[in-house]
Symmetry: C2
Subunit: 338 residues, 2 copies
């Protein structure tokens, strides 16, 4: 057994393969493994539709493979814990997903993922696979109006999977999807806060150091530094500060329609997530904005870290339609639509 004293695991080397095996057994009507650490839909989408593919390390479950399914992702390429999957595996997935309509590869802006994606796309293009990339850089902890390249990808990718999945099922072309997705990535912002750290499941190391009673707004999803540590304040004060920063980035106008999602990162209770959502919602309404799509869920976790990510977007009518009115049937995001 493992020497990690706080985790139900077996051999730390096998974590990713074992968790994926468990996942596809539990949801075998929806997902299957099509190669090592490559998760795909059991029932592929129709011929002639663009495939939506993403990649990223494990350890953030249910992200990203939890969103493979009808109306969301077609394929998730999984790396080891907090690690990029590598170009060869991404290339293998692109070969599997090859189709006439093409592939849209959604990449969260982390250096390993970007490098894997770039190399895989080069290999793919050489073999005649039609593929384009869409980069997610929703984290605003690098500062308001920081260049997109400096902004990491956070859980704002998950509603994007919903939008792209729905649009691709409708038969939108690769260029149309890239345009719809780019419009969203330009209008989404996410901010994280942590107050109790997590343990790396493979070596037992505590990922970052947060003393009791201290929180850090802006901490990244692998423990990367954020906006500095400070004493924990109430749920309401935290929510207002985060809404304020997100609004500074997105600059909504009175009357604008807003998407608001609270993502739990591992061990902040659903109770707290609800309380934070309540204040964030009220704050947005008081500022004259209209919350038109919302969700409270652990969509992308950071092991057993306490904290959450607040995702805000200014979706246009297209995006609202894809988010709210279209069906999705992935293990961790199922919706009837309207």
């Amino acid at each position: 057994m493992s020497n990690i004293k706080t985790k139900f695991i077996n051999d730390p080397e096998n974590i990713t393969s074992e968790l994926l095996e468990g996942y596809v057994l539990a949801y075998r009507d929806y997902v299957k493994l099509a190669g090592e650490n490559i998760v795909v839909r059991v029932k592929p989408k129709k011929e002639g539709q663009v495939a939506i593919v993403t990649l990223g390390g494990s350890g953030h479950e249910p992200a990203l493979s939890g969103f493979v399914g009808r109306g969301m992702l077609d394929c998730s390429v999984v790396g080891d814990v907090f690690a990029a999957p590598g170009a060869q595996r991404v290339f293998q997935a692109l070969q599997l997903m090859k189709c006439e309509a093409g592939i849209l590869l959604v990449v969260l802006n982390h250096s390993g993922d970007v490098m894997s994606a770039n190399m895989a796309c080069q290999l793919a293009e050489r073999t005649g696979i039609k593929v384009k990339q869409l980069l997610v850089h929703d984290d605003i902890s690098a500062g308001i109006n920081a260049p997109a390249d400096n902004r990491r990808g956070l859980s704002g990718c998950v509603p994007l999977f919903k939008i792209l999945g729905a649009a691709s099922e409708e038969g939108k072309s690769l260029d149309e999807l890239l345009e719809i997705g780019t419009r969203y990535t330009n209008k989404v912002a996410t901010l994280a806060v942590a107050m109790r750290s997590c343990t790396h499941p493979q070596n037992g190391a505590v990922i970052s150091d947060l003393p009791e009673g201290i929180m850090e707004i802006g901490m990244g999803q692998h423990g990367e530094g954020g906006g500095g540590q400070k004493p924990l304040v109430s749920a309401d004060d935290t929510a207002v500060e985060m809404v304020d920063l997100l609004c500074k980035q997105l600059k909504p106008a009175v009357g604008d329609k807003v998407m608001l999602i609270i993502n739990g990162v591992g061990s902040t209770t659903h109770m707290e997530l609800n309380i934070v959502f309540r204040k964030a919602y009220k704050e947005l309404e008081e500022r004259g904005f209209q919350v038109v799509f919302s969700r409270i869920q652990e969509i992308l976790t950071v092991q057993e870290q306490a904290g959450f990510q607040m995702i805000m977007a200014l979706p246009d009518e297209d995006h609202i339609d894809y988010l709210d009115n279209k069906p999705a049937e992935a293990p961790y995001w199922t919706a009837f639509g309207k």
Copy 2:
């Protein structure tokens, strides 16, 4: 602000009302408050169908109110953190849910909940409300074949909400629903394991004392004692031990169809839940049973406790049909059915 140094809350006295307010704002197309701490569907079910109602303390989110919706619960009566809601509030909910077809009140076997339910049902019957109770006592930590009265209600109630919700939407009578539900409660067993304790959100007290590297199989969902503390073993060994105990209670025969759900209680990672599921599934298949319905989800939490509950049932064809083939549209359990 609160003096609880590890929670995003405001005034500890207002936790329940604030979290419910946040919840119904986030999912306002699905749920609303019909009275203080009474959560109901926005679109009530058709006339002539039995209403399914449950009750229980807050602090276990998304349970129980997360399962109010089409094909699941019609009403959830919420108490304060880890506390029964009291007879008057349950009675108020029964008055709101009054209908010709009657009300089935699902009660988890905890003394406060049972007392609140009994008194409320007495008051209801005096005013001509047709109501029957169904007790859930799935926890096997009191020992294999312990009398049902000694067994607490755990997360095995959630698939029951799915079964009863689907059957009631079909127009089954109150007596039929009681029979369908009783058949399930006689064939479900749940076992919990904890390895890191949680903090009470109102007074900051640590609910139970579990040193690092120690786990307790059988710990109840308010920190009640289980089967004694012992050193943590691997995910696989834990899974096999729990499957074995659950099989001793349920006594499946070779070829039997089994429901297997892993419920995360707060801060055990989804990664670990997947790894545990994997071994439990394989162990059941090796013993000659057939896993026909499964799920890995935080359906009933115990604040930020680390651990999980393993829910096993021997559903009959009716139950499988209601679980798998019928739609549900509650914020934390959405399914298309087949």
